[in-house]
Amino acid sequence: MSADAHAASPAVDDEGRPLSPQYHVAHHFDNADHQFQANKLGIWLFLAQEIMFFSGLFCAFILFRAKYYDAFVEAHHHLDKVMGGINTIVLICSSLTMALGVRAAQTNKRKLGVAMLVMTFLFAATFLVIKYFEYHHKFHDGLLPGRHFTAEGFVHPEANIFFGIYFVMTGVHGVHVIVGMALILWITVKMYRGRFSSRYYAPVEGVGLYWHLVDLIWIYLFPLLYLIG
């Protein structure tokens, strides 16, 4: 990202509060920039392995869709496109507020940063609430995975496989959203306490990158599960 870290930085932030204490460079790094570079590479590697994690699920989806095309087409109509669509918009907005939060940290705007992060957290919570309602409907209608599938009126029996994959994919994604919320909470508190500034914002950026990936995965998930027919 930006090289603000080493430009001559102000001693106070936009409200006149003193900046976070001199960023502690861990003993095994040469300087702050060195530490920052290492942290960034670490986060990107972590994201790479997250992608590999989800890729297995996407593979399973593609394979079973090819095998049971008609069943999948029939089953996917029972997903609520409206709720899914709203959730997509919610997540995209959360990515926006997250990015603005990171920017705020980089430019010493503590209050704005906290506000943006809180909004991100709220968007994430909204996502989960909508998800809860979606799941609730499915449970109610017996649209459940595998052995537990009890819904009536399906021409093709392999709808249970579709819902198996649906629940595992959205469930695992949901777990990542919850973890993301915990991380956002953590950096919100730290930002509130004034720990981040143009001299030190690596954790905010790291959580931001993670959050963008969570969003990105949903952006692939939504059309594949809900839309294509």
Partner: protein, 581 residues
Amino acid sequence: MSQTVAAEGHPKDDEVEGGKTLNYWNAKKGILSWLLTVDHKRIGIMYLFSVLTAFLAGGIFALLLRLKLLTGHDNLVTAPQYNKLFTLHGAMMVFLFIIPAIPGSIANFMLPIMLGAKDVAFPKLNLMSLYVYWTGALMALVAIVFGQIDTGWTFYTPYSASGSGPVILMTLAVFILGFSSILTGLNFIVTIHKMRAPGMTWYRLPLFLWATYATSLVQVLATPVLAITLLLLALESGFSVGIFDPKLGGDPVLFQHFFWFYSHPAVYIMILPGMGIMSELIAVHARRKLFGYKAVAFSSIGIALIGFLVWGHHMFISGQSEIATTVFSFLTFLVAIPSGIKVFNWVATLWGGSIAFTTPMLYALSFLFLFTIGGLTGVYLGMLNVDIHLTDTYFVVAHFHYVMMGGTVMAFVGGLHHWWPKMTGRMYNERLGAIGCALVFIGFNMTFFTQFILGSRGMPRRYYNYLDQFQPLHAFSTYGSWVIGLGFFLTLGYLLHSLKYGAKAPRNPWGGKSLEWLTESPPITENFHDTPVVTSGPYDFMGDEHGITPALQHHPKDDPSHTPAYDPGHHDPAAKTEEKS
């Protein structure tokens, strides 16, 4: 080698406390100082202790298995008990020993030092990796003691998904262990990219680090696929999600694809670090520049990448299509080539060297012998029609023990001896070292070469009872296992003995050229007093192109009688030197 002062100079020059020199062992005292350490060396030692414990347990299971197999009739244990034993032997050896062993212990210890760094990029993450490993190991132990799984370490569905609680616990244990592997790999990649000392270019890295880098790539990219596979298996087991259950429309063979997509790259996680150690052992104990440095370096990367493409060779008869089977066979032959190139380069490094018969060198030579057999028998298994006869027989068991044990374990033990003086500050007994190596080598061939014969004759794997005609070979194989056991127990014994009674080790007992031999034995917590500046390669035994040797002269504080009186400055005018190292 000129030196500069590091960014934060802490001149802890051989601090003396009550007459004793401070090093990473005694710098801080008390159990909490170990459990809450961020020193990669202490973490490496704790890993070492853990993986050796796992090796001991897995080894005892193996001895029990072989004991039962003295005859093909019922004896010693029941069939269900036997099935649990081989499952545990496999699961413990794969997940608790061989995957974490070299990266967690030797690489953790040596990587930063070889780079000229003070620590890995993320020391706290390193400690977390260790704790995650312990958590997974503990869960696995609980699954073992209370759950008694018997699916084989490969957990094939539908057998493994038939709703048994212990399977869920075991799969979750392995899931957690996987994270330890991922985080270690991530840490190492960042460390190698970002923490190299000034002058340490990529082509001046010791080859152990190239191998570690390749291994880390596989750890980071392949292990998550295992994670999702195990998660799906646990969900299948617990909630009958149906993905692998044919009755619910699922596909049991899909599990095999998912499983082997990780587990084949996993075998490269197992062997690559061993190959990295091989380069170190041969170059240093033959005191000769490594032949074909770049070829060896890039072959590690090549093996890591091609290794992702061959998983289907575990599944030729699984019911997958003939086209897939053919493609996988072809790609499998390709992955053999980089391994072969390494072996040729190592042999070429022996040419023109000055070979000492130290214990590390003996283990390296054993590796060459045993890994060659292991690799060649892999070629047998890559051939389509031959594999149909050999797969799922003892031939496969022999093949993978030759590469994993004859390969990785030999390299691991050799590396342990090679760096033992550095890590512990003590020398072990060379005579006992040679005897231990000989016992293991002989016992190993007795045990496992016999199993090639059993397999080609038609003896299937995972059999509690077997046809009478196989009894003599099985008995011989069991006797071999006792010789191996003896060899390893002897080795453990003299190594432990050396901790207290071994001669004090000098900085550079072998005359190595990589950065770790600059430090004290054992090193101080900070590794280096001042950040080294690198001006030559790691195997420049006869000097760089200007005939100047790096000043790895013996430190005045070392006992000169122990350090080989290395004679710098002599340069053979007849030998051709390259422009670049």
